[in-house]
Point group: C2
Chain length 322, copies 2
């Protein structure tokens, strides 16, 4: 029953905010954007079997549905405020909804984000979350400002989530180091949106986006929006000990280039700003690695460890690849 | 491919608005809420086979996905501004997406609403739309203000959409009057959100919501939120000539009481204001019919034509009825 499910979610995601004038329970929420702030809004959908494997724990699903959206706000340099949740479920399942709401609330609480509205319907398991954040006018990070000569950086490490999915799909022998596997699966199920990094990049990054479809695909979008090309060095790609511990060099490289689901930020800064930005992001815990540079032209080229140009077998995870 | 589908939708829904600082194509849209306005936000999902029958024309699906959300803004007395669309499709189908975008754009254009962001993913056909509108602080209509003695009114006519669905499910003989059938099916597929009525009710209605799950269920929500009860007269329910032409009295009454998918506004006003409100809504084209009154207590009771109390067989369409 729609109303009881919503009530369960509301109870589990309670978050007091002065700017929420009317929350869940009416036809619409009423919200007050602070004076002098623009609103950043994004929506993303997770479908069972497409964006997370069947059998994923409900709390992980709830966390991830919010995380992938907060990652979009991080990429804009926005501060999160409110979310809407549209939940489609095959049948009413209170334990499932409770778990999902708990995972959602766990991440929401870290960022004082309030769930202000929602909808529950019957159908194949699907979650659409819309998020709203604030950013001072003119200070948002976009995809469109990269300039020739800028350095290309990424936060954190790449490829872990895709490798984690591979671990789930192809269970390994008993002798695999399960702690490494758990790290990778954790990166798949509980991505951490780089919100503080996004804030730190305001006024410094010339362009920014989050890596959701894979580095090659997403950096390609950044280049297209900026009217430039990029050259990156495969040898510089930041990869976790867990990824390198469980997969060989070529597999680890390909996960990092095209695996998707990373939810790291990929951004460009002028060469003079690299060291300062790296120091600040190291302080924030995620770090940032310089992986290449912006060049004239278009598209993304990858230099192999040997110095030649790589021909990647796949160009990022494409929902509707032909 | 996500980017091309989004481009098709963007082209078909182009709507210039000064308050859209950055539209579709980045990680988030950037929007400027006018000074002195609060933001009203809502989200609703349509699932194929649940909210519209398989085989519904894509343009009707696109229209309806937006209409049911605009109806929520109408119920708040808000002026629509922006929408997000999360579209899940079994496979990339350009003709389908074009049709859907055209239907969406047709309604959006009537209200100068801009589609500012979206997401396309692979999966069972599902649309979640989030809408954003403006309302001056303190002037929104909510469900919570009905007072004992207030009159209960509804705009337009009730039961048509549910009867239209019945027509689709149980095709009638060739001799049925197809123009009436088309009226009912049109009300199912192309609901008209009562936005101007919602604006006209600002400062006048004591409580308001839109009728999506059926009058009995939704008026029940209004009563619960206001801490009151309601008595309505079955004989006063506004029903269209098409509904009364194709269905007998009992069926027509039940569609009007509990059929759902009406997207009319149900609202309460003090007795002194009824005539003025009715005159204004008649001028706006939808009209408003007085169907009952608010009483002390709780729940909704329906007086039959004979003067007794009706025991309705069903209490509104419940997505997850046990």
């Amino acid at each position: 029953m729609e109303f009881r499910l919503i009530d369960r979610i509301r109870e589990r995601t309670a978050q007091e905010r002065e700017d929420v004038r009317l929350g869940i329970g009416d036809d619409a929420a009423l919200l007050a954007v602070p004076t002098g702030q623009e609103l950043a809004v994004a929506i993303d959908t997770l479908v069972e079997g497409v964006h997370f494997p069947a059998g994923t724990a409900p709390a992980d699903i709830g966390w991830k549905a919010l995380a992938v959206n907060l990652s979009d706000l991080a990429a804009m340099g926005a501060t999160p405020a409110w979310a809407l949740l549209a939940l489609t479920l095959p049948q009413p399942d209170a334990a499932f909804v409770d778990g999902l709401a708990d995972g959602f609330a766990q991440l929401a609480g870290q960022h004082r984000l309030a769930l202000v509205g929602g909808d529950t319907t019957r159908g194949p398991l699907t979650l659409s979350v819309a998020v709203h954040g604030f950013v001072p006018p003119g200070q948002a990070l976009t995809r469109a400002g990269a300039r020739v000569g800028d350095a290309v950086l990424v936060t954190g490490t790449l490829g872990d989530a895709a490798a984690g999915l591979r671990c789930l799909q192809a269970p390994m022998q008993m002798d695999v180091r399960t702690s490494m596997r758990d790290v990778l699966v954790g990166r798949l199920n509980r991505p951490v949106p780089r919100l503080s990094a996004g804030l730190a990049l305001r006024g410094r990054a010339s362009a920014c986006l989050d890596v959701s479809d894979g580095l090659l695909a997403d950096l390609g979008h950044l280049c297209a929006a900026s009217g430039v090309g990029a050259e990156i060095d495969a040898a510089l790609l930041p990869r976790s000990p867990a990824l390198l511990g469980l997969f060989d060099e070529v597999a680890a490289r390909d996960f990092a280039l095209a695996g998707g689901d990373d939810y790291e930020l990929c951004f460009t800064v002028s060469a003079a700003r690299v060291a300062g930005v790296q120091a600040d992001l190291a302080r924030l815990g995620c770090g940032a690695t310089r992986i290449g540079r912006i060049v004239a032209g278009e598209g993304v080229r990858v230099r192999d460890a040997g110095g030649g140009w790589l021909e990647p077998g796949r160009a990022g995870w494409d929902h509707f690849a032909a």
